[in-house]
């Protein structure tokens, strides 16, 4: 028997919710970035499930583009985290008040 596509959508939704709560709960900037990765991959699973549902390859191509964007985003985010760490020896997102203004 084959798995219905809605099962994949449920897994994707649960993963997205977990990533969203990690994003809200974490204080370390690096772990916030990790939660964003979970959310992006949940979206990728959704896209690929849609691709299998309709028999079109376009969803997989979109997932491919999402991966490229995620790689670029991680590069810049980690560079910013390294800068923050160099400046204040800490990456707690509540301590970065001096950024304002």
């Amino acid at each position: 028997m084959s798995i219905p596509i809605s099962a994949y959508l449920i897994v994707s939704g649960i993963l997205f919710a977990i990533g969203l709560f990690g994003l809200l709960m974490r204080r370390n900037v690096l772990l916030i970035l990790l939660s964003i990765e979970i959310m992006l991959n949940a979206a990728n699973l959704n896209l690929i499930a849609g691709s299998a549902l309709h028999g079109q390859v376009d969803g997989q191509i979109t997932a491919f583009f999402v991966m490229v964007i995620a790689a670029a985003e991680v590069t810049i985010g980690l560079a910013i985290a390294v800068l923050l760490f160099r400046k204040s020896n800490d990456v707690d997102s509540n301590d970065i008040r001096w950024l304002s203004g």
């Binding site: 798995i3 809605s6 690096l30 990790l34 690929i48 028999g55 390859v57 191509i61």
Partner: protein
């Protein structure tokens, strides 16, 4: 057989994603995320996205997470996370838990009511993905190269030692 494998690997993905969110040491959270990535790659293979699954493993487990690991190791003692009780008061913790459970149950309610038709199925081989990518999506593909180039520029400009 297929169904058992699906449940095993989607359960593994969800459990290790919970580990990413709740583990207190950054290195352990990162290794847990690697388990999530591998389980997701296996789910992609079930869905017929062979090329994307391989690229996913190479790009995420091979490049992105190693980069994360490098930065976390580089931080050394600074890479710590406060325990959950020190991050929030008890009231906001309960509120957050309630919001989470209600969000998740609403999501599951909507998704389980919706019955998808049987999947058409697709085999995302390198040939098919490559042909579509270079025929229908040529312009976006070229634009991603500009985005990657800008990412390299931004990383170098930000991480330079004497950036003033």
């Amino acid at each position: 057989m297929n169904a058992i494998l699906f449940y095993v690997f989607s359960g593994l993905a969800i459990v290790s994603a919970l580990g990413v969110v709740f583990l207190s040491r950054p290195t352990r959270a990162l290794l847990s995320l690697i388990v999530t990535m591998f389980s997701l790659a296996i789910l992609f293979i079930f869905l017929g996205a062979y090329f994307v699954a391989m690229i996913h493993m190479i790009v995420y487990a091979g490049a992105v997470l190693v980069l994360f690991l490098f930065v976390i190791m580089f931080q050394g003692i600074g890479a710590k996370e406060l325990p959950l009780k020190e991050r929030f008061g008890l009231g906001s913790l309960i509120l957050l838990g309630l919001a989470g459970i209600s969000f998740l149950s609403a999501l599951l309610f909507i998704l389980t009511r919706y019955q998808t038709p049987p999947p058409a199925g697709i085999s995302g081989s390198v040939e098919l993905v490559g042909k579509t990518l270079f025929q229908n999506y040529l312009l976006p593909f070229e634009l991603t190269s500009i985005i990657l180039l800008l990412g390299v520029f931004a990383a170098v400009a930000l991480a330079k030692k004497d950036a003033t």
